[in-house]
């Protein structure tokens, strides 16, 4: 069963939401999803840019009160 794990990277200036995503993808199985919470709007651009480059899959991006959630599916 594919799982979804949440990474709360709000207020994380270093290493930041994308680096947290990259590190956490190493720990889950292909097909699993990670939902990254980021208070940095830059993540909304940066995460899909990397995901496209490396070949994982984007799920939904949602704006909440003061942060964004971005879902990524591990594809390989």
């Amino acid at each position: 069963m594919a799982e979804r794990k949440r990474i709360d990277a709000r207020g994380a200036f270093c290493p930041g939401p994308l680096m947290e995503l990259i590190a956490n993808l190493k720990l889950v199985d292909v097909g699993d999803e990670l939902e990254v919470w980021s208070s940095d709007k830059g993540s909304v651009k940066e995460i899909p840019e990397w995901v496209a480059k490396v070949g994982h899959e984007m799920g939904e991006t949602t704006e909440h009160d003061g942060y964004w959630s971005v879902v990524v599916r591990k594809a390989k």
């Binding site: 709360d8 207020g11 270093c14 290493p15 930041g16 680096m19 590190a23």
Partner: protein, 379 residues
């Protein structure tokens, strides 16, 4: 029986917590209402930031070590007996020698470690300076280096977010002084779309690398190293040739964390403000081993450890919570062999590094000495 505090890990965070508790709980230690025990893996304490200087022969190896017994307050029993299982239900820790230690409060401070074996070919093809053995081998490789292609390759996650840039600029200075930089090309690779996780540091580093003629590749997450062909390839599809590969391998937490089912990859789920294991009221987690999305650095370990000391002693003496951790991180950054800068931030204040100066470099060198005072709780 008094309250038993058990600290697993006698590195920076575990040592600061133990010594800090001794200062705040002097009376309780005297009357036996509190005891503190530390479990560790070695009779020596390694000053990890000093490893950065080993490849350049800039530090004597003896300066890297102190006897752990001397760094730790003499009131704290120190057992060189690694934990093999941590059972939060039974409130017990089992050790390699077969002992079972119960606790009333547990502090998990087992740090993080490099895992070159997690990337195919990396252990065979790369050099690193994140442990002493690796730093020595890198020193030999640099001694023998006569020019060519150097790749400095950074992998996620890793501790000390500034060491990769520091080693790059120090390599440049070292090879320039040796007259080899004219025959050398240095390429720095980084996992995300800039040269450092912290935007201002990334921008500064890019300016410096452009000025010095160093190359860089962003969005590079290592897929494999071919030690025969001497190439390194990324998940993103880029490949570089190298003559000397210097890597910051990906990290994981301690084996005992995984073995005890406390967290995938050895990272313990931790409340970012209380520094309690998620869902626990008697298990503190401190330093590199937390899963908090924050720099794995000595200063983080230090500020976290101070928070744990205040809360644990307040809980024991007054039954109340003292204060939350605000996410503070402070780092000195060596920007070459003779200049340095610094940067700090917390959960709400973004980073803003000062301009590099020689004075900050001297501060960092002084800090290299002050580390021991800080571990002993005198700073």
């Amino acid at each position: 029986m008094g309250k038993r505090i058990l600290i697993v890990g006698g590195g920076l965070a575990g040592t600061i917590v133990a010594n800090g508790l001794c200062r705040q709980l002097g009376q309780e230690l005297r009357d036996g209402s509190v005891s503190i025990t530390v479990l560790g893996t070695s009779d020596t304490h390694l000053y990890q930031p000093g490893l950065l200087y080993v490849p350049f022969g800039r530090i004597r190896e003896s300066e890297l070590f102190r006897e752990q017994r001397k760094v730790l307050d003499r009131r704290v029993p120190y057992l060189i007996d690694p934990a093999t299982n941590i059972d939060l239900e039974a409130k017990e820790v089992t050790t390699e020698s077969g002992k079972t230690l119960g606790y009333d409060y547990l502090v998990i401070a087992t740090g993080s470690r490099i895992m070159p074996q997690n990337v195919p070919g990396m252990a065979e093809g790369a050099h690193w300076f994140y442990d002493l053995e690796g730093a020595r081998r890198m020193r030999d490789a640099l001694d023998a280096f006569e020019g060519g292609k150097i790749v400095v390759n950074v992998n996620a996650p890793h501790k000390c977010p500034v060491a990769p840039l520091e080693i790059t600029f120090m390599l440049y200075d070292y090879l320039t002084a040796k007259g080899l930089m004219k025959k050398t090309e240095i390429t720095y690779t980084y996992p995300i779309g800039r040269l450092h996780a912290l935007e201002p540091v990334g921008e500064w580093a890019q300016g410096e690398m452009d000025r010095l003629g160093l190359k860089y590749e962003t969005f590079f997450n290592t897929k494999e190293v071919d030690s025969k062909a001497k190439t390194i390839s990324s998940e993103e599809g880029t490949t570089f040739d190298y003559d000397l590969l210097v890597t910051i391998p990906p990290h994981q937490g301690a084996q005992v964390i995984e073995d005890s089912g406390l967290g995938t990859g050895g990272w313990v789920p931790t409340d970012r403000e209380k520094l309690l294991h998620d869902g626990s009221t008697d298990v503190f987690v401190v330093g590199d081993t937390t899963n908090i999305p924050i720099s794995k650095a000595g200063s983080t370990a230090h500020f976290e450890a101070d928070t744990v000391v205040d809360n644990l002693s307040s809980l024991i003496t007054e039954g109340r919570w003292a204060r939350n951790y605000d996410g503070k991180v402070f780092c000195f950054v060596e920007t070459g062999m003779d200049t340095g800068t610094y940067v700090w931030f917390n959960y709400t204040t973004p980073p803003n590094p000062g301009p590099p100066s020689q004075m900050v470099h001297w501060f960092k060198l002084a800090y290299n000495r002050l580390y021991w005072l800080s571990a002993r709780g005198l700073l």
